[in-house]
Symmetry: C2
Subunit: 104 residues, 2 copies
């Protein structure tokens, strides 16, 4: 996977125990996946792995791969993305984003 822009977002819910809120967030992410510049995506929840170095307190993860940085810029202002934020941002208490590009 060369020349990728890797956008990985982790969400913590305001109501961590709410399966309904989680389902609503996951539904929103499934709609978000329709943004055209996204090459591949993965909607996740914490795996069963559990070691000291593993962060597993988040509720959902959103991995989106883009061909380049410009496509990710475009995604940020895509109407589908703006609608996702509008409809779902009340669900989360914290979001952490890691954006990575090729190391070499």
């Amino acid at each position: 996977m060369k020349n990728l822009f890797v956008h990985h977002v982790y969400f913590w819910l305001k109501n961590p125990g709410s399966q309904e809120d989680l389902a609503q967030l996951l539904d929103g992410l499934n709609k978000l996946a329709k943004v055209e510049t996204i090459q591949k995506h993965h909607i996740g929840v914490p795996a069963a792995t559990n070691r000291d170095v593993i962060e597993r307190t988040y509720a959902a993860s959103w991995l989106a791969l883009f061909d380049n940085a410009a496509d990710q810029d475009s995604y940020q202002v895509d109407p589908i993305h703006l609608k996702f934020v509008e409809e779902c941002s009340h669900l989360w208490s914290k979001v952490v984003v890691f954006d990575s590009v090729d190391a070499s």
Copy 2:
């Protein structure tokens, strides 16, 4: 990308300013990528994006995709992985791992 096990690791260096240490870590990750159960991988550094929600203090990121959780378990004890930890763990001060599986 269905049925994936997504393993994303972020490394902070003991000597954050050392290009030599970063190069050594990236070299180690390139060797680590040879583990046979890894389906796809990406070796990254922070992108230029810079918003409040973006964590960009890490030095390098390691994304490895596996077909299933068992393949990731196998990777953890693969001799290539053990050698990577042996040769490179002195370089980092912090490692954070996010393991994610399909949400539905």
